[in-house]
Symmetry: C2
Subunit: 210 residues, 2 copies
DNA sequence: TTATAATTTGAATTTTTATTCATTTTTTGA
DNA sequence: TCAAAAAATGAATAAAAATTCAAATTATAA
């Protein structure tokens, strides 16, 4: 009962911080070993709380995992949409998107592993309906990306070599493909520092002849 | 001790058949529910053997899973390499590869789910070194695919818009991307019946101007 | 047909881990 | 400073499966 005007009290802020610490430890563990190979015991030790305390923050293991994935997805989605809604023509938007995608991939490897496992592989969380929620968000995002292609075609910036939605799927797949190859064998596959390495495969053919 | 000249005795053939039946049941279950959500009990019931019998064929659950994945990969790899080594120019080889990829995807959905979980997501089998083995095979296969692009570029059939290895990664990613989208929401994403829908994104820009 | 070997079985054992909750520790406010 | 409330703890419980193995069944061949 410090000040009443402020929304989150000191205690509440402290709780939030603790919650984040648990999620951070859990993210690191889950991404390394997968959902089923991480015990609540381990998460407790890594985050330096007692097992019982975890259950004060999360109803159960599944909910902990779900919250973790959803919160990280929020971050990523917001960042990607920002890139698509930024200034510039469609080429610029795509370039920003690829650049951001590559950057976020590299600086969020633990989550990326988790996300790929969750979206491409078998979901650990079928009961919690997590995969369904993710699929819907992914659909919505691809819709936005397709819009960029669609607008580019409408304005004559791009040639209509394929359906905008197909192009969106293709671009997203290729980015993930490149980054995944790098993640799996960095020695054989160079990290695509320059986003144009990826984008050129699309832009070159897409660009209308001047 | 029937005939000595024949390699696999009647008994041995019977064993093989039983083993296949177990793997078939396991594939169906694993692909539907994921490694950790399938018990040996379930596999036993589905294949109509006793639990103990499973352990006569496979050292443990992990080995059963590993054998399953590896044997299916063998089939796929052989088929894909066939397509790349077939007759025709590089365009024809790529077209055959895409067509075959799409066909095998559709007619082997249970295994495809498993493979994606294993290769894109978190491997269930880190101890057994399965992911490492798969990665090596994938690398080798991409090398072959890159060779096709490389030859096409050398012969002037393709323009060198990117490194052959990058093109191989990109094509493989796009195929998987399209098929995965279809798998996840068939109502929203049409099945790419015509392999050219996928290949055109590559071939159009690649084809040298006549 | 029958003794022996090979195979199959599934109940019992062991292991692993999620979850609970009585107890202890810490914080709060007078 | 102290009693009451809140929070944290982790040993104990419960549940789920993997694995084992003694007993039962089936196949072999003399």
């Amino acid at each position: 009962m410090t000040t009443k005007t402020e929304k989150p009290s000191r205690r509440e802020r402290e709780k939030l911080r603790q919650r984040q610490e648990i999620l951070e430890a859990a993210l690191s563990l889950f991404s390394e070993k997968g959902y089923h190979s991480v015990s609540m015991q381990e998460i407790a030790e890594a985050s330096e709380f007692a097992i019982g305390t975890l259950y004060k923050f999360f109803q159960n293991k599944e909910c902990l995992y779900r919250d973790l994935v959803i919160e990280q997805c929020d971050r990523f989605e917001a960042a990607f949409l920002d890139a698509l809604e930024g200034p510039g023509d469609e080429i610029e938007k795509l370039r920003n998107f690829v650049r951001l995608h590559v950057d976020m991939f590299r600086s969020n490897l633990p989550f990326v592993r988790l996300f790929l496992a969750e979206s491409k592989g078998a979901s650990y969380n079928s009961k919690a309906g997590l995969d369904d929620a993710l699929r819907k968000r992914m659909d919505a995002f691809l819709e936005q990306l397709a819009l960029v292609f669609g607008n580019g075609i409408k304005s004559g910036l791009f040639q209509k070599i394929a359906d905008p939605h197909a192009l969106a799927v293709a671009l997203d797949s290729v980015i993930d493909g490149f980054l995944l190859r790098w993640l799996e064998s960095p020695e054989r596959n160079p990290f695509p520092e320059d986003p144009d390495v990826i984008l050129d495969i699309f832009l070159n053919p897409l660009l209308s002849p001047q």
